[in-house]
């Protein structure tokens, strides 16, 4: 009886313990004037693997494989271009552009598919809330590995081509496009 009362009290305190205060962030939804020139679009695929067998008190485990695709655009932020970044000398123009950056990241829900789900023991299927959480982890993983792809250099080449054609149509004969150093190179050169 004494043991049971102790267990009861212990569980009572565990269940009543305060959870950590979460920092509340208020998002402001507004209209923004932007000038983003996207020049490269990459479609990236990933298989998200999850094995949920870590809890000792649950009999059985759950495994899931979800395939998803993300569409990522990269290009140049034209807002950063200042007047002095464009130098004109007769039929010759030199333009200094900021280094390309990632512009947008999207995961089309139509391209998300549960490839395999294996539930055994007394475990329940993954809820949609859990699947969304797993997908968010997949999204984070894609974002972390994005800069390992050649998306920025591809965006740079395309931006150069676009700007050259733009000035050619304006009647310039000699066009020089120069890019700022990428942020990582700037840091290493310091």
């Amino acid at each position: 009886m004494k043991n049971l009362s102790f267990l009861f009290l212990l569980l009572f305190f565990i269940s009543c313990s305060k959870s950590e205060d979460k920092e509340t962030q208020v998002a402001v939804f507004e209209l923004r004037n932007i000038g983003l020139l996207s020049t490269s679009e990459y479609t990236i695929g990933k298989i998200i693997e999850l094995k949920d067998d870590s809890e000792w008190y649950k009999f059985g485990d759950r495994n899931i494989l979800i395939s998803c695709k993300a569409k990522v655009k990269a290009g140049i932020d034209l807002v950063k271009i200042q007047k002095e970044d464009i130098e004109v000398d007769g039929k010759k123009v030199t333009i200094h552009l900021p280094y390309p950056t990632l512009i947008s990241f999207d995961m089309d829900p139509n391209l998300i598919k549960t490839e395999m789900e294996d539930i055994n023991g007394f475990r329940k299927s993954f809820t949609q809330e859990e699947k969304n959480h797993i997908l968010a982890l997949g999204e984070k993983s894609i974002k972390e590995n994005l800069l390992k792809t050649s998306i920025l250099s591809h965006a740079k080449q395309n931006a150069e081509l676009f700007i050259e054609n733009f000035y050619k149509e304006l009647g310039f004969k000699e066009i020089h496009v120069e890019f700022e150093k990428p942020f990582s190179e700037e840091i290493s050169s310091r």
């Binding site: 569980l11 923004r32 004037n33 983003l36 479609t43 990236i44 034209l78 809820t127 590995n145």
Partner: protein, 220 residues
């Protein structure tokens, strides 16, 4: 006297048993609550699988307006008969995840509510054949295609399952997510942002044209 003592002892034993039973039930309930809470809080860890570049496309899209939006989408299914409602609510009562939905004997069979945050980019596809630059002695005419919605961006990290009552298939959540995107598109149409998109395009392209000529923008 002995009989009275026996009776009081029996009563005491009964009270003890009832108290023990109550403690046991409470312990089981608290244990179930703790397990449920820890399951919710437990962080999933995905395997470190590679990413694969599946398609590379060269594009030329100039986004001039960005609009952030948040929409709520809901899917609801009612029980078709009283019998189905009774059986459905009983089955919810034995399911720990849905016990709260079965307590009030609601006529709602399933409900899924999502809160989706998204970003909409409006601008111009400059790869369109309509994008042309024509120059004469006195002016430069830039023909631009009509502004369009370039992107409706929403991801799992910006999507929140607000309520999930009953079990839902993947295609059903896909339908709901697409509904959220359509809602955002409609919101943009109502704000008539396309006119503003053209004004912004002029503001960005004009400084790039360093010529002493009049510049005209024409939407085709």
């Amino acid at each position: 006297m002995l009989n009275l003592k026996n009776r009081s002892q029996r009563k005491l034993a009964l009270v003890k048993q009832v108290v023990m039973l109550l403690v046991l039930i409470t312990t089981i309930l608290l244990l179930m609550r703790w397990c449920k809470k820890s399951e919710k809080e437990s962080r999933f860890e995905i395997e470190n699988s590679p990413i694969k570049v599946e398609l590379i496309r060269s594009i030329a899209q100039l986004a001039t307006i960005s609009y952030k939006d948040e929409v709520v989408v809901d899917s609801l299914e009612y029980y078709s008969s009283a019998n189905e409602q009774i059986l459905g609510n009983i089955s919810k009562l034995v399911d720990i995840d849905n016990i709260k939905h079965g307590l009030k004997s609601s006529n709602i069979k399933r409900r899924l509510t999502l809160i989706v945050k998204g970003e909409i980019n409006i601008g111009f596809n400059l790869k369109d054949k309509k994008f042309k630059i024509q120059e004469t002695d006195s002016l430069i005419k830039i023909c631009i295609p009509k502004p369009i919605i370039l992107d409706v961006l929403s991801t799992p990290s910006t999507t929140r399952v607000f309520q999930e009552n009953g079990s839902w298939k993947d295609y059903e959540i896909t339908v709901l997510k697409n509904k959220a995107r359509d809602k955002m598109r409609r919101n943009v149409e109502q704000l008539q942002l396309k006119t503003k998109a053209k004004e912004n395009l002029e503001r960005f392209l004009r400084p790039l044209i360093k010529k002493n000529k009049k510049v005209i923008f024409e939407v085709r």
